[in-house]
Symmetry: C2
Subunit: 211 residues, 2 copies
């Protein structure tokens, strides 16, 4: 694929083996950060991350993603209240033994992270299915997450939020559908090992269904 006869015809950059190895390392070491240092992100960093996110795929380049930063302590309080309601509900009916730890860490993230970023997709683009709009938005968040990790910035995904309460707390346009809520900042903790072992991944890879 690095054949200059092909890539030489355009300005398209070629990516070499060294870059691909680093890219794999980025995929493997990217993690869900739960403990954040209180230090604010530098000026313009969130904007730059959203700019990278906006390079994600979307049919017709429609960019259906909408990002909201949440700074107001009143709104953050409403988000944390929603988290606690849902966490209590979930704990009450769940058997997963590590769930308490996960929720404890997510609450710490909500309290400590300097940046709260909510992702929505704009459903007013009626010519594309809602699923595609949501998928494109998720891809944009993934791009943002990878970009952040390359800069040493951590992202944590909050799993326990009520979409309706959140949409109301953030007072967003009515056509926006909630996709996810993310805490962003510099990690306070250190990863001790790559989270995904390739042995496990190879088992997953072997599970491709052939049709």
């Amino acid at each position: 694929m690095n054949d200059p006869a092909r890539t030489g015809r355009t300005n398209e950059p070629a990516f070499d083996a060294a870059f691909r190895a680093q890219l794999h390392s980025l995929f493997a070491w990217r993690r869900d950060v739960r403990r954040f240092r209180p230090d604010p992100l530098g000026e313009g960093i969130v904007e730059r991350l959203v700019q990278a996110a906006s390079l994600a795929p979307a049919v017709g380049l429609i960019q259906p993603w909408r990002f909201v930063t949440v700074d107001s302590s009143v709104r953050r309080g409403a988000i944390i209240a929603s988290f606690k309601r849902m966490a209590i509900d979930t704990l009450a009916r769940n058997v997963r033994t590590d769930l308490g730890t996960v929720l404890h860490l997510e609450l710490a993230a909500l309290r400590e992270a300097p940046v709260h970023l909510a992702a929505f997709c704009d459903l007013s683009t009626t010519e594309v299915s809602p699923t595609m709009l949501e998928v494109a938005t998720a891809m944009a968040v993934n791009t943002l997450w990878l970009d952040a990790h390359a800069y040493g910035i951590g992202v944590g995904w909050i799993s326990m939020l009520e979409p309706d309460a959140l949409t109301q707390a953030l007072d967003v346009p009515k056509d926006w559908r909630y996709v996810g809520y993310f805490c962003i900042g510099y990690p306070a903790d250190e990863p001790t090992e790559v989270q995904h072992e390739f042995e496990t991944q190879e088992e997953t890879a072997a599970q491709i269904l052939r049709r």
Copy 2:
């Protein structure tokens, strides 16, 4: 973030400015490929792409994504028939002038791409909301797409498919929800320019809603 006093405590790799610049270039040049060369991908390449995809975020590392490769000509025929039905429907009620071109190119992709890959999420993991499972799966596809592009392999997203017809044609477990359908292979065409201009992206970035 490259402070050795921090990163030196673990094996976590640090990413430098050169890597980050290449990563941005990867984001910017990744595109939706529609015309494919008929050459098959090498042995094991799809498996390796799915392995990279499986490094994507998912709450509790549950890996809800399920990938299906479609080789059977009968099943590909059913997919193309579904595409045509939905395309005709959409064209009949749509005003977007470039839609005919988009559909023509997607049909070419379906006919020419050596690999068809369908992505589903497994809803049988009931402790996580369906939206989160879908979002995690979309992130996995985005990771796969970026990895493919780094290897000179193109991915094209097919926008016009009926989820029910597709799920039936591929005979997947009933708990699997359709997330997307992708054509994969070596691009037959050349990008003439980066698709996303940063000027445009800056406008998007400026649209972050503050709350």
